[in-house]
Amino acid sequence: MSTLLDVKQLASQRAGRTLFADLSFSLQAGAVLHIEGENGAGKSTLLRSLVGLVELQAGTIQFFPSEHGLAQEWRQHTLFMGHKSAVKAELTALENVALQAQLSGLTQVDAWQLLETVGLLGLEDLPAGQLSAGQQRRIALTRLWYSQAPLWILDEPFTALDTRGIDLLQQRFAQHIEAGGAIILTSHQALTWQPEQLQRLRIQGGEL
C-alpha cells in the first residue's frame, strides 16, 4: 500500500496556547485515521492546517504522489469538510447539490440521483434554510458521492445525522476505503464500522 500523506513534527499554537507540538503521522491508502481529543484540544485546527486553512507554526506536510507538489494539484486530491456545511439557505436542496458539483468543476452530475442517495427525495423544492440541521448536513455530504479525491479530511462528519444517516455515511466510507482512498476524521462517537486499517491519534490539549 502506498503512502498518501506524510506529516512531520507539526506544531500549532492558538491564542498563546500550544495545541499540539511535534506531531508526526503518515497515512496509507486504504487507512482511516480517527483523531480523538477533548473539546478544544485542537482537532479542527489540525485538520484545517492539513488543508492549509490555518498556517503552520512548524512542521511539514507532504501529499503523495509527491509530483502533486503544486497547491492546485493536491487540492484536487483532497476533499475537506468542516463544521460549516456551505449550504445556501436561500437555494433549494436540488439547486444546492447541482451548484456544489459545478463549483467542483463537474459538468455532468445527476443531482436527483444524489438527493435520492442521501434520502432527501421529496424535499428538493424546499429552500435549504427550512430543512433541519441533519438534512442540510446531508446536502453537504452529497459531495462524497461524486468526489474523485483519494484523501478525505472530515471534521465531525456525523454531527446532526440520525443513525440511518450515520450508517449510510459509513457505507460510503467503506466503499471509498475499498477503492484505495484514505480518510482522516474527527468524531466523538466510536465508529460502528471497523475498517481494516484504523489508526487512532489522540491529541492532548492544554499543554502550556
Binding site: 486553512l53 445556501k88 436561500e90 459545478q102 468543476g105 429552500p127
Partner: protein
C-alpha cells in the same frame, strides 16, 4: 486544472450568487432606493433653481452612488463566510482569483448596472442639462466596476470582523476620490462644451486595471479572513 472545469466553476458561482440575491430582492432594491431618496433630497435642501442644481448634479449622483455601494457591501461575503462557503472556495482546485472575479461581476450586475439605468431619472430630478446626460451615464458605466471591485476587497478583508461596516467606509471612501474627481470632471467638461472623452477613457483604463488586479487582492483577503 483544465480550462473547462474552471469555466464551469465560474459560471456556477455567478449563477449561485444571482439566484441567492434574486431571492432576497431587498438587497438590490435598498441601495437603489437609497440613491433615489438622497438625490431627491437635494432640490429640497438647496432650492429648486436649475442653475445650482444642474451644476452640482453629477457630483451629487456620484457621491450617492459611492455611499450606496457601501450600503450593501458588508453582505457581499458575510453569508458565504458564515455558512462556510468561503472556506470551501479557498479549497477549490480552481483559482480563487477567478472565483473572486465571478463574485465581483455579479455584484456589479446587481448594483452597478441598475445604477447606470437609473441615472437618467436622477439626472432629471436634479435638472442636469441634457448635454451632460450621455457623459454621466458613460462615467457610471465605466466607473461602477471600480466601485464593485474595490468594495469587494474591503468586504473580503473585514468579513471576519463581525461588524466591520464603519471601518469599511473609512477604508474605502478615500480610495474612491480619484474616481469621483474624474467622473464629475468629465460631466463638467461635457456641460461647458469641451471634450469629455479624455476623462471617460481614463476612467475606463482605471476600471480595467482595477478589474484585472482586484480579484487577486480579494483572493488574498479571503485567505486571510478564513484563517
Amino acid at each position: 486544472m483544465s480550462r473547462a472545469s474552471s469555466w464551469t466553476a465560474l459560471t456556477a458561482i455567478m449563477k449561485r450568487d444571482l439566484m441567492v440575491v434574486m431571492r432576497r430582492r431587498s438587497d438590490i432594491l435598498n441601495p437603489l432606493l437609497f440613491i433615489l431618496v438622497v438625490v431627491s433630497l437635494f432640490p429640497l435642501a438647496v432650492g429648486p433653481g436649475p442653475d445650482i442644481l444642474g451644476r452640482i448634479a453629477a457630483g451629487v449622483i456620484w457621491v450617492a452612488a459611492l455611499l450606496s455601494a457601501l450600503l450593501g457591501s458588508e453582505r457581499l461575503f458575510r453569508e458565504d463566510y458564515l455558512d462556510g462557503t468561503l472556506e470551501q472556495l479557498t479549497l477549490q482546485p480552481q483559482a480563487l482569483p477567478l472565483l473572486s472575479f465571478g463574485k465581483i461581476a455579479v455584484h456589479w450586475l446587481l448594483s452597478g448596472l441598475p445604477l447606470v439605468i437609473l441615472a437618467p431619472l436622477c439626472a432629471l430630478l436634479l435638472k442636469l442639462p441634457l448635454a451632460g446626460w450621455g457623459t454621466l451615464m458613460a462615467t457610471l458605466l465605466v466607473g461602477t466596476p471600480i466601485l464593485s471591485a474595490i468594495t469587494a476587497i474591503g468586504a473580503a478583508l473585514t468579513v471576519s470582523l463581525g461588524r466591520g461596516g464603519a471601518l469599511l467606509s473609512l477604508l474605502l471612501l478615500p480610495l474612491f476620490i480619484p474616481l469621483l474627481i474624474f467622473a464629475s470632471g468629465a460631466v463638467e467638461a461635457a456641460l461647458v462644451g469641451t471634450a469629455a472623452w479624455p476623462q471617460v477613457l481614463l476612467l475606463a483604463g482605471l476600471s480595467l486595471l482595477t478589474l484585472l488586479l482586484a480579484p487577486f487582492a480579494v483572493a488574498a483577503s479571503i485567505r486571510v479572513s478564513v484563517n
